[in-house]
């Protein structure tokens, strides 16, 4: 079965530090990849997505992610984090059996110290 792994469950950084959150998926075929974010007290919202084309995808709030097919990875990056980036981040994939059913990672809780 398709699965998604997020390596870090908790990350603590200081403001202005660079961020990279890992995401690996198990399926070797065509995939669509997503990062969602959940700010404290808010609902899940889409941060960025990859369907095809340029493997470097830019999203909202200065986030970007790179799809590396050979590594089955879709890591999320931001060069300089802010306190307002404190949130939980989820990687999700679809593609194997369904183009709508999302398979999710367990999430990474990111805390930014002011």
């Amino acid at each position: 079965a398709q699965s998604v792994s997020q390596h870090n469950h908790h990350v603590i950084l200081s403001e202005a530090a660079s961020l990279e959150l890992g995401c690996n998926y198990s399926y070797g075929g065509t995939v669509n990849l997503f990062w969602y974010v959940q700010y404290p007290g808010q609902h899940l919202q889409l941060l960025l997505k990859y369907f095809s084309g340029d493997p470097l995808v830019k999203g909202i709030k200065g986030f970007e992610a790179e799809f590396i097919k050979s590594k089955f990875s879709f890591n999320l990056r931001k060069p300089s984090v802010q306190w307002s980036d404190t949130a939980e981040y989820f990687c999700a994939v679809n593609g194997m059996d369904s183009n709508y059913q999302l398979i999710w990672g367990a999430g990474t809780k990111l805390i930014i110290k002011p």
């Binding site: 609902h43 889409l46 999700a92 679809n94 183009n99 709508y100 059913q101």
Partner: protein, 115 residues
């Protein structure tokens, strides 16, 4: 415009009872999804509606779980004979089409606690 809404926001029930969780999708969205999120986990797919019909209910864990969307808008997730293991946040999402590239918009969730 209004986003996806879910009621109630919290529900505490006793083991063995029946519960209904409601989802109001974004107006005009034809696709509706239910997910379940347990503590420390990502969301887990339960069921997908296209219009009034359940196009994929493969994620429903057993026959105690059922969902309807009679008029192609509001959906209700129904859980019979609740068990403590059903405790989770139940998320609803909607999109204005199915599949890629349609973005799924999520509601705030209903936190269900079975005592």
């Amino acid at each position: 415009g209004a986003g996806v809404s879910q009621t109630p926001s919290n529900k505490v029930t006793e083991k063995g009872k029946y519960v209904e969780l409601r989802c109001d999708p974004i107006s005009g969205h034809t696709a509706l999804y239910w997910y379940r999120q347990s503590l420390g986990q990502g969301p887990e797919f339960l069921i997908y509606f296209q219009g009034t019909g359940a196009a994929d209910d493969s994620g429903l864990p057993n026959d105690r779980f059922f969902a309807v969307r009679p008029e192609g808008s509001v959906s209700t997730l129904k859980i019979q004979r609740t068990e403590r293991g059903d405790s989770a946040v139940y998320l609803c999402a909607s999109s204005d089409g199915a599949g890629v590239p349609y973005e799924q918009y999520f509601g705030p969730g209903t936190r269900l606690t079975v005592t």
